[in-house]
Amino acid sequence: MASNISPSAFDKEQIFGMAEKEMEYRVELFNKMTQTCFNKCVDNRYKESELNMGENSCIDRCVSKYWHVRCYLSLLLDLSLALV
């Protein structure tokens, strides 16, 4: 009876492994996004500490586009794999 309710030890390990990979993926995605958008948007003369209006605007757009590129290529890869 109990075995029907709770997953087996093996299933549990798989679930934990998958959850960990998912977390790592999200963290890595965030890091790449941050570094990429910093390189593209921030004036490297560092005249002040605050992000100026242009930089703020650029960052918003950079994040959005990065996300859409990721979604687009993800879809593209799924299609190409499905065609094999």
Partner: protein
């Protein structure tokens, strides 16, 4: 932590909750160290270009400080946008 994971945790036995929590903590520590390292590398590359002396010049100090502050502010802003996108809320083009 992701909202989905948090909601799932409610149905977990205590032992598994603890394990998931430990996993998230370790990941956070790793991420913080990684962020710190990339920040140092980035700002060093940007701001330190001469090596006549061992100590940093006033100009280099100022540059490094501003670089770090901009990076942290940018990271915060990216985090906010990232959350929005994750939750699938529509982004208005601007």
């Amino acid at each position: 932590m992701d909202k989905n994971i948090i909601s799932d945790l409610d149905n977990f036995p205590e032992e598994d909750k603890q394990r998931m929590s430990t996993m998230a903590d370790q990941l956070q520590i790793r991420d913080s160290l990684r962020m710190y390292n990339s920040l140092v590398e980035k700002c060093f590359k940007e701001c330190v270009n001469t090596f006549y002396r061992k100590s940093m010049t006033k100009q280099e100090e100022t540059c490094v400080l501003r670089c770090a502050q901009k990076y942290l502010r940018l990271s915060m802003q990216v985090g906010l946008r990232f959350s929005d996108l994750n939750q699938g809320s529509s982004t208005t083009d601007k």
